[in-house]
Subunit: 157 residues, 2 copies
Amino acid sequence: MSRPCPQHQHPHRLIQQPLSDLTDKLRRGELKITAPRQAILDVLRKHSSPLTIKEIHTSLGKLDCDLATIYRNMHTLERMGLVRRYDFGDGAARFELSPEEGDSHHHHLVCTRCARIVELDDCFLNEFQDQLARRHGFTQISHRMEFFGLCPNCQAP
Amino acid sequence: MSRPCPQHQHPHRLIQQPLSDLTDKLRRGELKITAPRQAILDVLRKHSSPLTIKEIHTSLGKLDCDLATIYRNMHTLERMGLVRRYDFGDGAARFELSPEEGDSHHHHLVCTRCARIVELDDCFLNEFQDQLARRHGFTQISHRMEFFGLCPNCQAP
DNA sequence: CGGAGGATTGCAAACCGTTTGCATCCTCAA
DNA sequence: TTGAGGATGCAAACGGTTTGCAATCCTCCG
């Protein structure tokens, strides 16, 4: 994983939510504030791109906890909207702290060689998605969209 | 899985490529024409939505072959562009015969309860995707996009 | 038409991310 | 401070997928 290209970094990703705000949210969700929970949130807070469970695990360092604990927590955190889950099609889920404006979301451009991730601007699919729902009588509609390609560093000569 | 709603069925999906055309393509790809291969293509030919490996396997009926054979064949067929792979996020890959205009593709609206699949019109992301590639210096760019929701039959009262 | 050579298959075992059961531990409200 | 229930660690199981290997099948060539 390489450093994100600053010029294309989406602004809201640079604003780190203080850990205390996060634990406040935990409390509001009636979740206990445990060491693994805090450590996981802290790791996510410090990264600007989605992390796999394994990446989170190694980032925990000496605050290490069981993999199953991370898996369980990601479900809980996702359920209460603190965290967003992404699937880049390589078989490992990735997680990112939700932006503070809880309902907005964005998509990613992923290098298929080095897994470098570019965070794109806020999603533009909402109107289209709503039309689609109306036209086909669907409710609770959502979507997934990711872009893949070779980043500048990975293009062979 | 329920029958697709005819009024929203995308036209090109109704045109079945004759099996002979498909085996011709196999030949051109220097692939041997084996019984499993033909049977798999024949199953795909008869379905208008993407199928999982398991669904293909059970559809094979008495032409049954090993799961590993299907997995291996899906890779080969995908590699030569005969088949397209989709990921609806439930952990099982799905496969669909490529439309005859080899480069076009479309997306899906998937019911999260009954897995009913609506095939959408041809993709509209190409320009956007190219812009994106240019702006970030990526090459070989592609994307994935699927919509999820509750279909009319699955909306609880 | 028959045989050689390489692709393809079946089978079983391995893989990998993820989930789960269970006993123990810890957090938090009373 | 204490009790109840949520949370954790550990190990086993799970589901989709991949892989090694020996046996088999398609094709091409003589």
